[in-house]
């Protein structure tokens, strides 16, 4: 019996692994609180990619020379690392993409065009990122299917009664974000997946904001597809993952065609390759895959449960601190929430807040966060968002708090 050991994160030693955290911004120490946009990269990731380019750079799956063998084996080992990370049954169920967005597009075009028809329904939620709205809109235009939207309440939680009302035998795809990038809401995805399966719909989970904050076991959770991006989980940009159940992936036509995804080509006929190569046309982001595996090993070395506890502590501290500011309103107050705080101030626009915080060295995201329908739902033009990661500290939240007070002083 394996027992999980909960230990607190030694933030100082974690921070030493992230060289960028030592830089100064506007002569102030960088306080990086834009982790929901992208996380910083530990040395292990940077070094793994550096080593690839310095020592064994070569194309994969197509050479008999030594370097090609090395790069192929590292690339496939990376696939296995990711398989282990989300507990997929087989490595072939892990498809490398350029990010979560491409993974959703792959499913919409390949699975969607093959399986959807007029009046079929696709169910998403009001808190989706544009990347989990637009591909389905395009699919609806192409097939005559209809997009349905699960509403949310004022705390930024899905209204589950409405979900059950919208769910019907017409529902063919349910595509839901696990954790909202704007609100931090953690959605009850297990309940949604089970309910969707009861009407034979397939479910895609957008795990871009969750896979590094919560332990995910795709065999227990049972989504048909799950997507995430490398750069949000301490890995490089330009690499992401589509997990899909083997039987479904095998039934799907290729999304892109070209080299490496074929078994044989003549001018009359092409035989496509098996999984996962069928969905990885052309030379893929080999260094990215290797870097992503190093990022996952970094997460595993600290323990995702330990990281989650640290982030929950930061969220609680920040929520308590920011709630003391009378002019500040937190947008997204779900009972189950991840380490994201979106807020608005009475006296200052988010872009002014963003610029002024930047001058204090504090990097936050301001704007609509690629969730324009969500901004409209709350009747606001934009928010300022602070989002936390394993290397953030209580002191950094104090800097955020004091910087917000300075903004208020300037504008009142």
């Amino acid at each position: 019996m394996h027992t999980k050991v909960i230990k607190s994160i030694d933030v100082e030693s974690v921070r030493k692994q992230f060289p960028i955290l030592d830089i100064m911004v506007h002569k102030k120490p960088l306080v990086y609180l834009d982790n929901a946009a992208t996380t910083q990269k530990p040395l292990a990731v940077i070094d793994s990619m550096d080593k690839f380019y310095r020592e064994y750079n070569s194309n994969i799956h197509r050479g008999v020379h030594k370097l090609s063998h090395l790069s192929t084996s590292q690339y496939e080992k990376s696939r296995q690392t990711i398989q282990g990370f989300i507990k997929a049954a087989e490595p072939e169920e892990i498809i490398f993409t350029k990010g979560a967005t491409e993974a959703i597009n792959l499913v919409a075009y390949s699975y969607g065009l093959m399986n959807l028809g007029k009046d079929d329904e696709i169910l998403i939620s009001h808190m989706e990122h544009h990347a989990n709205i637009v591909p389905w809109q395009i699919l609806c235009q192409k097939t005559g299917a209809v997009l349905k939207v699960i509403p949310i309440n004022d705390d930024g939680e899905l209204i589950m009664d409405e979900f059950y009302k919208l769910l019907s035998p017409k529902t063919k795809i349910v595509s839901i974000v696990h954790i909202s990038n704007t609100l931090g809401t953690i959605n009850p995805v297990k309940e949604i997946i089970d309910a969707a399966h009861s009407v034979d719909a397939v479910v895609l989970i957008d795990a871009a904001q969750s896979v590094h904050h919560a332990s995910i076991n795709v065999q227990a959770l049972n989504p048909d597809f799950l997507v995430f991006s490398g750069h949000k989980v301490y890995g490089p940009t330009g690499i992401g993952v589509l997990y899909g159940k083997r039987a479904i992936l095998e039934s799907m036509p290729p999304y892109q065609t070209g080299g490496d995804m074929i078994k044989s080509v003549s001018f009359e006929k092409t035989i496509f390759n098996d999984l996962p190569n069928k969905f990885e046309a052309g030379t893929t982001n080999i260094a990215g895959a290797i870097g992503l595996a190093a990022a996952i090993e970094f997460i595993d070395s600290h323990g995702i449960e330990n990281i989650a506890i640290h982030e929950a502590n930061l969220l609680n501290y920040a929520t308590e601190k920011l709630s003391q500011i009378e002019q500040l309103k937190i947008i997204g107050t779900a009972t189950k929430k991840s380490a994201v705080i979106s807020f608005v101030l009475d006296c200052a626009h988010p872009h002014d807040i963003g610029t002024l915080l930047d001058l204090e060295g504090v990097a936050v995201r301001t704007g609509q966060h690629c969730t324009e329908p969500l901004m409209k739902r709350f009747g606001i033009p934009a928010t300022t968002r602070a989002s936390f990661a394993v290397y953030n500290t209580y002191e950094e939240i104090d800097v955020l708090y004091n910087s917000i007070l300075k903004v208020i002083k300037l504008f009142s």
């Binding site: 872009h351 610029t355 001058l359 300037l410």
Partner: protein, 159 residues
Amino acid sequence: MSEINELYQQVILDHNKNPRNFGIIDDATNTAEGHNPLCGDQIDVYAKVESGKILEIKFKGAGCAISKASASIMTTLIVGKTVAEAKGLFDDFINIVTADLSDKCDTLELGKLAVFCGVREYPARVKCASLAWHTMMKAIQKSELDDAPVSTEDMEITI
């Protein structure tokens, strides 16, 4: 706080808090809508132009302090000017927020426009500052181009 003051000068804070010429002109001859889809800022400009002269100009909308103050200051500079003079001011303004005119900024040659000298240090905010100016140009050029009876047709400016 010195860097802050370069961008958020007292003049800008004041115009943000108490914007001049804020509102709608019911019998405007020229109007245009300005929208920055990246941040949701919206500035609509209303003007009364007769014989090539801008008799009255107002704006309405919502946005950050930089875009609102810029719109307010723009109206105070443009009112009473000819369309040609307004174009000259527009060119000066765009130069200030995009090119390096630090000599001019120091000598106050630019007059009221000098408060925008700090903007060019913040490339992300140039669009905020110039939204109202682009919208003003769109509005006043409308009559000049076709010299036809003024249309209140909405125009969208994406910058």
